[in-house]
């Protein structure tokens, strides 16, 4: 029976070429727009570290002076886990989490001995020893530094694979010296390709969110001793000495901790509250609110997905809705025009169910054709997105799940569109139609 319905549908398409083409085109456009924006939204709201994200947490505290009237919630939305150096170091040294790291971003001027090679700036992270193990950054050569290196301000460096390729042609560069700014650092580790998308740890530190990741990783305390300039410094008092950021009333480092499960997270939050309470009693802090979102919660809090991307998706689905309404209208017009054919089929013994099925099959075929066209439009749309200036643009590709989603959305849209016309069609009474023949 299904084959017969397909045959009938094809015949009907042939008879109403323009109408069918219009329906498929409208549906294709709506689906193309929806899939394009959904792909971008999925890319932007993706999990940067699927293996570890549930275990990573961002401790947030309010460092503002007593006179401040800013709500802690608003402050956390703006600053996230940014902290003063003092608070970050206190949390680091408390060792209350399985792993903890403090970090800031700073671009470093790399000078090489290679003749003719001009100095260049590379994106860098100044951080503490747990960074690599906590964020799942694996080593191609060597390893990271130790907590002892942090305290000793040892001048050692970990570099990304792509910087190693650029500087040393991809060979094992462990032990080589690298001039960063005005100081020499000994390379002790080379990372395998590692670039979480988005680069979650940089969103509130002033770095790029997407792209090929950072190139240089230096011990935080050694870099401070060398007078590093970090990307972002937010001071809550204008009378500060920026040259001694360690003691300044400014937030400029962020802290991340790794906790095994929810009960550990609860315990850590209690510790964080107690820490703040203790600092309040010492007169250093003044506001008791704390927060401890996990990685995905942190990304939502920091509104990492741009409003424009979500707005575009809403708009595309609004457009798809218009296309579906449009298809309902055209399908209805087509099926009402065929009242006589339906009457004949009904008179010859087709049940209402059979008529209904026949028209749903026809809508489904419009849907599949619309899906194929939508796929072409989506590929075109994504091609256009890849040529946009946004930093995530290059990553916009259709994957298997979105490929499947295209046809699912197309079928659902067309079947919904087909319901009303099919229902109208199966209500057609055979007698009056036959009389007028």
């Amino acid at each position: 029976m299904f084959g017969y319905y397909l045959d009938l549908a094809l015949r009907s398409f042939k008879r109403h070429r323009v109408l069918t083409a219009l329906m498929v085109l409208a549906l294709g456009l709506g689906i193309g727009a929806s899939i394009t924006t959904l792909t971008v939204l999925k890319l932007l709201s993706g999990d940067p570290l699927p293996q570890k994200s549930a275990r990573l947490f961002a401790p947030e505290i309010d460092p503002l002076p007593a006179a401040s009237t800013t709500q802690a919630k608003k402050l956390f939305e703006r600053w996230g886990n940014l902290m003063t150096y003092t608070d970050a170091m206190n949390l680091l040294h408390a060792h209350k989490a399985e792993r903890q790291a403090v970090m800031a971003l700073a671009s470093g001027k790399v000078t090489t001995d290679t003749p003719g090679q001009h100095p260049f700036f590379s994106d860098g992270v100044v951080t503490t020893s747990d960074f690599f193990a906590m964020f799942g950054a694996d080593f191609q050569y060597g390893s990271g530094w130790t907590a002892q290196d942090d305290e000793n301000r040892t001048h050692v460096a970990v570099i990304a694979g792509f910087l190693n390729d650029k500087l040393f042609g991809g060979t094992n560069s462990i032990g080589k010296m690298l001039r960063i700014g005005d100081h020499d650092y000994r390379i002790i580790g080379v990372l395998k390709p590692w670039a979480p998308q988005p680069r979650f740890y940089s969103v509130n530190l002033g770095g790029r969110g997407y792209g090929n990741g950072d190139a240089l990783f230096l011990p935080l305390q050694a870099a401070i001793a060398d007078g590093v300039n970090t990307q972002t410094v937010n001071c809550f008092d204008a009378d500060v000495d920026i040259n001694h950021l360690e003691t300044a009333p400014c937030v400029w480092v962020s802290t991340w901790v790794e906790l095994a499960n929810a009960s550990d997270a609860n315990a850590y939050k209690t510790f964080l509250s107690n820490y703040v309470a203790q600092q309040i009693s010492l007169g250093r802090l003044h506001h008791p609110e704390v927060a401890l979102p996990n990685l995905m919660g942190f990304l939502a809090q920091q509104r990492v997905v741009p409003d424009d991307a979500r707005m575009q998706t809403n708009l595309a689905f609004g457009f798809l809705l218009i296309c579906v309404v449009n298809t309902v209208g055209l399908l209805l017009a087509k099926c009402l025009r065929r009242s006589r054919e339906i009457g004949v089929r009904r008179a010859l013994g087709a049940t209402r169910g059979a008529i209904f099925t026949q028209f749903m099959v026809e809508s489904g075929m419009v849907g599949i054709a619309g899906g194929v066209l939508g796929l072409i439009f989506a590929e075109l749309g994504l091609w256009a997105i890849r040529h946009q200036p946004a930093e995530y643009a290059g990553l916009a590709h259709l994957d298997i799940s979105m490929f499947m989603a295209t046809f699912v959305i197309a079928l659902i849209a067309s079947l919904i569109a087909g319901l009303l016309p099919a229902w109208r069609a199966c209500l057609v009474a055979p007698a009056p139609q036959l009389k007028s023949v």
């Binding site: 009237t69 001027k109 707005m311 218009i322 309404v325 209805l332 946009q388 946004a390």
Partner: protein, 406 residues
């Protein structure tokens, strides 16, 4: 035109009529909000910026040796001024729409800083010749004098040691509404007090710092003597000379100190980069609007054609009993007008609802009322254009059809 027969006929086709109304309503709602978003973004791109945008080039120097910075910067500046075609040059800490931004909360009294609404203001600092190099427009008061540049050092808190400041008109109006700002004092923190000596036409900040369009002109300017961190050079020339000046200037500075990293851009490039995402969003919105209107128009064409086909017989009868072609045309045009009007009425309510939703979830303001009648007119026109073809075909139905069967 009597609309009674049209309404009677529509009552027989409730579902197709409802579909057209729904489609027009959705299109109207989306159109209102999309056009509003487009206009908001174009408004942002077109914000006035009272500097000589078309004559500016920026050369940015990174990696200067801190020990010799002050002397190096003066030497670099002199070298840039010698380039043929350069009419003025100065060093400054940041550029409007640039990727570097210094901001402070300011107040008009020592205790005002902690107030929740103390405005966050961009702090520009430039060396001697800054106003001329940027092409700033003085509205009241004066620019800085030579002593003020020479005496102003960059302090440990990255604030200048001077006691003078120039503010933009928008900032002056924000801080001292309805008063003259000249001679008033600005507090940055409790110890840093600056006297307003001049008011300039609005200059954009490096970015709006999360404050939206309303805060984009809150800028203040300080004199400063050459120092590390004041390491962007702005160079003014004729527009046609900029590409050459950027190239030659960067080469010259790199030759002077091989250890620094120099990057040069024309201001147009900086502007394009800043607004690139905004412009692509505008492009996408325009595209969706156009395609959506086309789909809606084709939907109307499809459904009306179907109606015309169904009513050939009735049209023939009307023609046979004396209706002219114009009557038949008018019939379909009026019918479409009625459907569009119903659609637009529903659409306006929907548009308002969507706007409320967007205001809750995104940084959007209230939809100004005049968007509603404007999109209503757009959809009426669209409906009339879409119905023209089928209506013409209806008008061409010959009266003889009435005598035929079926």
């Amino acid at each position: 035109m009597d609309i009674q027969p049209i309404l009677t006929a529509l009552r027989k086709h409730k579902i197709p009529a409802a579909l057209i109304v729904l489609e027009i309503a959705l299109a109207c709602a989306v159109l209102c909000n999309a056009v509003f978003m487009i206009n908001q973004r174009i408004g942002e791109i077109r914000l006035p910026n009272a500097i000589d945008e078309s004559g500016l080039s920026i050369i940015d120097v990174q990696g200067i040796d801190p020990k010799t910075a002050s002397g190096d910067l003066q030497r670099d500046l002199a070298a840039l001024r010698e380039l043929p075609g350069v009419t003025a040059a100065a060093a400054l800490n940041m550029m409007p729409l640039g990727n570097n931004s210094w901001n402070s909360n300011v107040a008009t009294s020592p205790d005002g800083i902690m107030a929740k609404d103390s405005p966050n203001v961009a702090e520009y600092m430039f060396t001697q010749g800054g106003p001329e190099a940027l092409g700033m427009r003085l509205l009241q008061g004066r620019f800085f004098n030579d002593d003020e540049y020479a005496d102003s050092k960059l302090g440990d808190s990255y604030l200048p040691s001077t006691h003078v400041v120039i503010v933009t008109k928008s900032l002056a109006e924000r801080l001292w509404p309805e008063q003259s700002a000249l001679g008033k004092q600005i507090w940055v923190g409790k110890k840093n007090i600056y006297n307003v000596v001049g008011i300039v036409a609005d200059v954009l900040r490096p970015d709006n710092n999360g404050g939206g369009i309303a805060h984009f002109h809150w800028s203040m300017f300080f004199p400063i003597s050459p120092a590390l961190a004041i390491q962007e050079f702005v160079v003014r020339s004729a527009p046609g000379d900029r590409a050459r000046i950027v190239r030659d200037g960067a080469q010259k500075l790199e030759a002077l100190s091989p250890s620094v990293v120099v990057e040069g851009h024309t201001f147009s490039e900086i502007r394009d980069k800043y607004f690139a995402n905004t412009r692509s969003m505008v492009g996408m919105l325009v595209l969706v609007c156009v395609v959506m209107l086309a789909v809606t128009a084709f939907g109307i064409v499809g459904l009306t054609s179907f109606w015309v086909g169904q009513r050939r017989r009735q049209i023939g009868i009307r023609r046979a009993v004396g209706a002219t072609r114009a009557h038949i045309m008018q019939y379909f045009q009026t019918e479409n007008f009625l459907l569009s009007s119903a659609g637009v009425a529903v659409g306006m309510i929907l548009a308002f609802g969507i706007n409320l939703y967007l205001m809750q979830h995104y940084q959007t303001t209230r939809l100004p009322w005049y968007y509603l009648p404007v999109s209503a007119i757009a959809l009426w026109v669209l409906g009339q254009l879409a119905v023209l073809g089928p209506a013409l075909r209806a008008a061409n139905v010959p009266p003889v059809v009435a005598t035929r069967d079926g």
